[in-house]
Symmetry: C2
Subunit: 150 residues, 2 copies
DNA sequence: AGATTTTTGTTGTAATTGCAATAAAAATCA
DNA sequence: TGATTTTTATTGCAATTACAACAAAAATCT
């Protein structure tokens, strides 16, 4: 069967590396842009869900969001009638840089898809969505300690 | 334009996370499996090329390979007539685990592509190869300090 | 209601990751 | 050939990343 994992890994690392370099001028360190974007787009989301969206460890998200709060990018609020969940909201500081983050992402996306027809773009999008769905299952299982047989 | 970066990022993190968990029993820590696989498949490759293949920073590759040498997975040799390049070779220890690493990768690949027709597999493979090629250019430019306009 | 399980969150520890800065060998140029 | 540039590799920081282990609130079960 044809291999797609290596390509995906290399593409992801390259794009992440580019973004990290480009967002350093915003005082965002490695990986932090991911959280800012998600929280801007899902105000009131909880940490657990952010980790799930991004496919990062819960403790990684915890520490990243802690830093973002300290730096004034994010605000944690406690919901009425629920003392466990901490709702995450972007501050003005985040909302100010959000358009820039968005534009960079769109530019990278356009660069990645350069030379693609509309049909091809729709195709790769839908295939990747299916891959993500397929792999989500194993990720959650393995994280929980389940052993895969191969 | 449809977005594919987030899917790629999430898929890559999920798969990497799975592999890291599954390879801990081989005494491989985070990310090390990538280097072992590449060096097994390209005996005599130099560090710089490994970093380029994987799209990681040169210094990251340097330290990862150092650790792998200390742990006995990799051997560095100096080429006759060239005192700069350090050629990388897998040791027996690496070659022994290589089939397992390969099998895990193939299994993840099969899981990721579950429900895909042969035609779809060929399609996503070829599209991803083109994306990687597109993005390679920007990665190298940005790493060198070039600023992208967007 | 009370016991159990699940969800959400944090810290301890140990490791990778990567930008700067540095060095030395090799390749290119004039 | 000698000077300059490029390639390859390393170390000093400073930061993220994530497995364990823990805690507490919420949800579920009986």
């Amino acid at each position: 069967m044809k291999e797609i994992l290596r390509e995906i890994g290399a593409i992801a690392r390259a794009l992440d590396s580019i973004s990290n370099i480009e967002f350093k001028e915003l005082d965002l360190t490695k990986g932090q842009y991911l959280y800012v974007i998600r929280i801007c787009e899902h105000p009131g989301i909880i940490q657990e869900k952010v980790a799930e969206l991004l496919k990062v460890d819960r403790t990684t998200a915890s520490r990243a969001i802690q830093k973002l709060e300290t730096k004034g990018f994010i605000e944690k609020r406690i919901e009425q009638g629920n003392k466990k969940n901490k709702l995450l909201f972007p501050t003005a500081k985040s909302m100010d840089i959000y358009p820039f983050l968005k534009r960079e992402g769109e530019y990278s996306n356009a660069r990645a898809l350069e030379g693609f027809s509309n049909e091809e773009i729709n195709c790769i999008h839908s295939l990747l969505t299916r891959v993500l769905h397929n792999i989500e299952i194993d990720w959650e299982e393995v994280k929980k300690g389940h052993k895969r047989q191969y």
